[in-house]
Symmetry: C2
């Protein structure tokens, strides 16, 4: 099967290299920007890909929604299988692109868009054929895991570990999508679509790690807990999907604690299979390219469309999940919280709340911040 590659950045180059050695696959043309076409295998016009009858499949690793969306659709309409690593594309246009793929009888797979090298969505889609998925989640952003791991193992502060992450190439010059949790949120949206046939696009809650301080880290240590940035999705008691991202405190026995450096962990719970946990590198040239290549091998074996046929966009229910929270905030504001335990340190209080809904906690934090309060909060698991 001849595979064209749209985009020749970090991941595209990894895909192109891996295509030379993979069983049953061979590299086709690579689409680059005009002026970058310095090799005979490079083309600058999407029609050189969609119009080439020798091309069976297209890998889309451009990132962003345009021109990724229109080119992906053009490839599908030209009868090419498409494998993409682009979470923004699938989160925004996944159901429509999947419908085109179904109509054309070609594959549309996007394992690399969630978990990088961790074979999460592939396994989730396969499990959902015969088992009922109850929840999905995990550590889906390697940049923030590196930063949290460094803050907790070395006691460094946020600014220092962000700088280290940028030096190591783990964080981009503008790290906001990572540190705010947006990147992980897009990934859990995709996991919900695959698991529950529902793509949640509203009612989503995201808390990042920007407000974490070494003093918070010290508190976690006293509680014998470790902080990770965790994404979760599931079906709440009212039958609606919930999905959120927040810093989460986990006990030492949790698999999440074993996730070091910039690694990812993804998990699902299924009615029959129970808890399944997968760990590996969540980003980087070859881990991500590996996920693309596994999808291509999967296409070879028998095309399929990863997004379920009945997948609809829904508003998430932020009241579908609740748990206690750690909240560090100005001491005079503790009356705003249902306090279970409290520790005061001058003007600052560290509270463990009773169990509240995700919506309540995130909304309350937003309200207090709008009034000028500085605070940090993290869900408590287990």
């Amino acid at each position: 099967m001849k595979v064209a590659v749209l985009g020749f950045g970090t991941v595209g180059q990894g895909v192109y290299e891996m295509l030379q050695h993979a069983n049953g696959l061979e590299p086709g043309p690579v689409l680059v920007r005009p002026g970058k076409d310095d090799a005979p295998f490079k083309v600058t016009d999407i029609e050189a890909v969609t119009g080439d009858p020798a091309v069976d499949a297209v890998v889309e690793v451009l990132g962003g929604t345009e021109p990724a969306r229109s080119w992906t659709e053009a490839a599908l309409r030209a009868g090419k299988h498409v494998v993409t690593a682009n979470k923004a594309l699938v989160a925004a246009h996944g159901p429509e692109l999947a419908a085109v793929a179904r109509e054309q009888g070609v594959a549309f797979l996007f394992s690399a868009a969630c978990g990088g090298g961790v074979p999460f969505l592939h396994n989730l889609a396969l499990a959902a054929q015969s088992d009922r998925i109850l929840s999905v989640g995990g550590i889906l952003n390697g940049t923030t895991n590196y930063m949290l791991d460094a803050m907790q193992s070395r006691g460094a502060d946020y600014a220092a570990v962000l700088k280290d992450a940028q030096t190591l190439g783990y964080a981009e010059a503008d790290p906001s999508a990572d540190v705010s949790g947006l990147d992980a949120l897009r990934k859990i949206m995709l996991a919900c679509a695959v698991a529950f046939e529902k793509l949640p696009t509203e009612g989503l809650y995201t808390e990042g790690i920007e407000d974490l301080t070494p003093a918070d880290v010290q508190s976690f240590r006293q509680m014998d807990l470790t902080c990770r940035l965790v994404a979760r999705g599931g079906i709440g008691p009212r039958g609606a999907v919930f999905a959120f991202v927040e810093p989460t405190l986990v006990p030492a026995s949790a698999a999440e604690c074993a996730v070091k450096d910039n690694y990812n962990l993804a998990r699902y719970e299924a009615e029959r299979a129970g808890d399944i946990v997968l760990m590996g590198q969540g980003a980087g040239r070859f881990p991500t390219a590996s996920a693309v290549l596994r999808d291509l091998s999967d296409v070879l074996c028998g095309q399929r469309v990863m997004m379920p046929a009945g997948c609809v966009r829904v508003a998430a229910d932020g009241e579908g999940c609740g748990h206690p929270y750690y909240v560090r905030l100005p001491a005079e504001l503790t009356g705003q919280l249902p306090v279970d335990r409290i520790q005061k340190d001058g003007d600052t209080a560290r509270v463990v709340t009773s169990s509240v809904t995700v919506k309540w906690m995130h909304d309350t934090a937003a309200r207090l911040r709008a009034q000028g309060a500085k605070l940090f909060f993290a869900g408590i698991e287990g």
Copy 2:
């Protein structure tokens, strides 16, 4: 796709139930022993399965090598896809059965034979299409993990935890295949076949957990290490496959430490994807049935044969891997070991050796035991 089931024990019943709810699958006849055919869907003659043109696929969950082998072959020759959970069958006859499946153009998949509900072999086979697998391994026996976890968390002795495991249904009346490591060895043999196209059948080393004492557990705690029964396979420096099972001491940061109770962990390292770790329930009705059902969904998507076409039987190279060992033995025998650290406690010595090969350690232990010595040893990782 109509699916017949050979065997109606714990797993067979789980498969039959799951077949009623799986996308694109439906239950067909179930083969049982004469006298057990108390329901209209039950048959007692293999020809009622192989001769039924409505049956597209057969699940083999009989266990053992006969009649599982001849019935599996008959089903494949009748043009039925076969999915099996039978590790003894695949370890003994996998390459020949895979050849028949290829000849007939049908699938032969056996994910459930290694790791139970953990989607290990499926992912390993998929990854091997486009990446070079460097090593495989993990905690592949839930019974012994339950026992080791209980001995280390509760300080109980071997006999007590074995009895608990039997009461809970985790261990059979004759637990020898589990506690000796043979069950895990068969599983790592299959993983080597899938990963390296080489099924190691000789030169394999297995050490179980029968000789572990609470005093050993105490020593592990002092060393800040946790003992797990770990299987490993890989390619040694001479290019030959190695495969072995032995108690292994791992640091608190290892994912293996997060494997509680009767759970399993499987991992592989690939050249491009890096380390991939998978965790879940390794046995039990529905976890194992889930793995069978995932294979069936995979057959639906496009048949394939999991055992590589070029897979040959080889002798493993016990000198292909080495590391330090913890050895508890009579103090007068410590001269037999390359001692790195030693602690004496009356007549008993606890030694940490320098790095030695797996073959050397297992052979030396066998020689000392043949002379009547009581000892326990465990590899030290990380």
